[in-house]
Assembly symmetry: C2
Homo-oligomer: 424 residues x 2
């Protein structure tokens, strides 16, 4: 049995022209993989009928049996996806009265206190209630219903999920889509791969390539699918395979463990962020940030429930702020400069004190592109981590890359430094 091939068609001029970042393609790709589909192609185009049509035909030509489209379900005239998918699946379009009533009700609730043009709104609602004959109608969570559209009987065209563009609306109706009979019949024919992720720091990609070559020569990699990915200074290796190849995967992971035991920090899907939260186990952290400008605080407050462990961050961009908020001595700032081991230490100790936390970590550096010197080039970053009971770690690095890379890598390094203290 093979995996069923799937594709994702992201429509929207604002996505193609880079005015918004597509969050739907990645989200759908993960969901489809979990459900046992081989996502082969993700394609992005404007809200132009001929381009959307071409992408649907391309998916068909590639043996894709399930396509998810996102976007183009809004109330405006350039939102055309439902009509084009209807044509592609050879389904007549009709105004679905129950759907229209649902949309009108949602709009009425939403606009009760607004002074919006109701005639314009109702034209939009009518447009959104026009759907292909025979489709399953999902939601709507916003005002745009999703659709599950089947091709005509006997056709080898794909089934199409027509999903709205706003990620919240799309995600809200996803479970409805995968509970339809149409989807379930498809899913029964696919096979869910097993996978394991290992994460390490400080190992170059070429070493990993060599280890893989050597393993292949000695034992053979067989049908294992291996992806290596370097991001924000960490190396991720994902090994996925059919259930029957489990022993092969375990053998490869053992080889990695033998060679890189010091560098591997995670052998599950767990990120360093998640490890820290787990290891904290009720204890609290505080941050003192300079060149990362709040990025590390933002990262640690992405999860719901962050208030259980996160006290706060003092984002002190200027010398004056470091002195006033974190009590960094003016003399240190003058003598050693804001980017120095001494100031990093005082910042972390200041954060520990002012936020009354169990752990604190500081970051002070030169993210660039300006501000570098011969002694302290762009990318120079000083870190200091400290605990309420006096344990500590210091680190000085010159990180490669542009401003955003330096900021992202510095945040990751600070987390690894913090982790080494939290896990003791």
């Amino acid at each position: 049995m093979d995996q069923i091939r799937a594709g994702i068609v992201v429509t929207g001029t604002e996505v193609l022209t880079a005015r918004i970042v597509d969050r739907n393609g990645p989200w759908l790709s993960e969901r489809l993989r979990e459900l046992g589909f081989d996502v082969v192609h993700i394609t992005i185009c404007r809200d132009r009928p001929e381009d959307i049509r071409a992408q649907l035909e391309f998916m068909h030509s590639q043996g894709v049996e399930l396509v998810c489209t996102t976007g183009g379900l809004g109330p405006t005239a350039d939102d055309l996806t439902a009509t084009i998918v209807g044509e592609f699946c050879e389904r007549e379009m009709y105004l679905d009265e129950p759907t229209l009533e649902k949309i009108r009700e949602i709009i009425a609730n939403f606009t009760r206190r607004m002074n919006w043009d109701t005639e314009a709104l109702d034209a939009g609602s009518r447009k959104q209630a026009v759907v292909p004959r025979g489709a399953d109608i999902l939601g709507p969570a916003g005002t745009a219903p999703g659709l599950v559209v089947r091709p005509p009987e006997g056709s080898d065209k794909p089934i199409v999920f027509v999903l709205p563009g706003p990620p919240g609306e799309l995600q809200a109706i996803w479970n409805e889509a995968i509970e339809t009979e149409t989807f379930k019949a498809l899913q029964d024919r696919t096979v869910v791969f097993e996978e394991q992720m290992i994460r390490m720091i400080g190992v170059p990609e070429s070493d990993i390539a060599k280890t893989l070559r050597e393993f292949d020569e000695a034992e053979g990699l067989g049908d294992l699918e291996i992806t290596t990915c370097l991001r924000k200074g960490e190396m991720e290796i994902l090994v996925s395979h059919r259930p029957e190849d489990r022993a092969k995967r375990e053998s490869l992971i053992a080889a990695f463990n033998a060679q890189y035991s010091g560098a591997i920090f995670s052998q599950s899907a767990e990120t360093v962020d998640e490890q820290i939260v787990r290891l904290l186990d009720g204890r609290t952290i505080a941050l003192a940030e300079s060149c990362t400008g709040g990025l590390l605080a933002q990262r640690l407050t992405v999860p719901a429930g962050a208030s259980k462990y996160f006290q706060g961050s003092a984002v002190t961009y200027t010398n004056a702020a470091k002195a006033r908020v974190l009590s960094v001595p003016e003399s240190e700032l003058e003598e050693f400069g804001a980017v120095s081991p001494q100031v990093a230490k005082s910042m972390a100790e200041g954060a520990l004190d002012v936020f009354q936390a169990d752990f604190a970590v500081s970051i002070t550096g030169i993210a660039g592109p300006d501000g570098g010197s011969k002694e302290k080039p762009v990318g120079t970053v000083e870190f200091y981590a400290v605990t309420a009971d006096g344990r500590n770690r210091a680190l000085s690095l010159v990180l490669p890359g542009r401003r955003q890379d330096v900021q992202e890598r510095a945040a990751t390094v600070a987390l690894h430094l913090l982790r080494s203290l939290v896990s003791e």
Copy 2:
């Protein structure tokens, strides 16, 4: 004269499987648009030869004359893009000795102090120096050279830019790519569109659709291309057109100005972030953040040179942190709760004082998914902006969406509140 069609092929299993966010597709799309190309399709696939080949053939079938590929130029065996593009363009592959020497030199500089396996590294370098005959060789900025590959004489296949995956490396060699004779000959045949962006807040998409319909009925939209995009609570409208349709665009923009004068805050490409930086004109700002967890600080420190206007942010996630860092009275926290107009005011005043800034804005709210109540549902956010000379603005909102949406919209609202004070 028409615009020349372009396409972008993003390769990489880590992108397709959503382990990293693609930054190259959007970046290239903007650059190509600026240069007068009509970017029609962006496609993403794994590092699988048959999938990359299928996408190149799809681009060809769609009349695309320039394809940019990104990724798949690394030292490992699954990095295959150069070879596949060579095949597609019917070019023989060869080891380019000068390129190999360049890569060796770069690697030697990089690994001088590292204890890495040099044999593994050199196998990688040799692989990266194998390129299609006749191609222009770009860089390398990292270790992977970029390529400009022409199809055989007389073929209607596209020209292919083969670019590396790391955004910093790709961007570093871009100018070399567009300065090749091959590219210049193509660019001479295309036409650069003019465009204008207007941005507004508080107007629903359906109103915009109605305004556009009415304008079309009255004067005709002609060949104007109009994209509307709602993001983080702001509405963006981009109007683009051939140079000869300028009067039509000006007439449409005038119609928007007549109808939405109060809601429009920008008629150029300038974002609210950029407006604030410009309007500050040397004056400084500080933040007091709670539910946004450093997101607004991070946003304001994205630009290089942020230290000119940004003093810092107190990310105070707990009541204790609000009291200690921002001097919020404990009595207010007890009586009104952390999410209250009173606490928002004290937070902003505390930030103004501790960071010694000219302006401060505070955000305290319930991002969810937990923590809501009947009186203060999830999405409730209190804002307060204040100046050193005592002017101020307060705002209470219930923002829609999930945790991340609430955080992003709250950051945007805070910037608009700040802008109203800074522009006075």
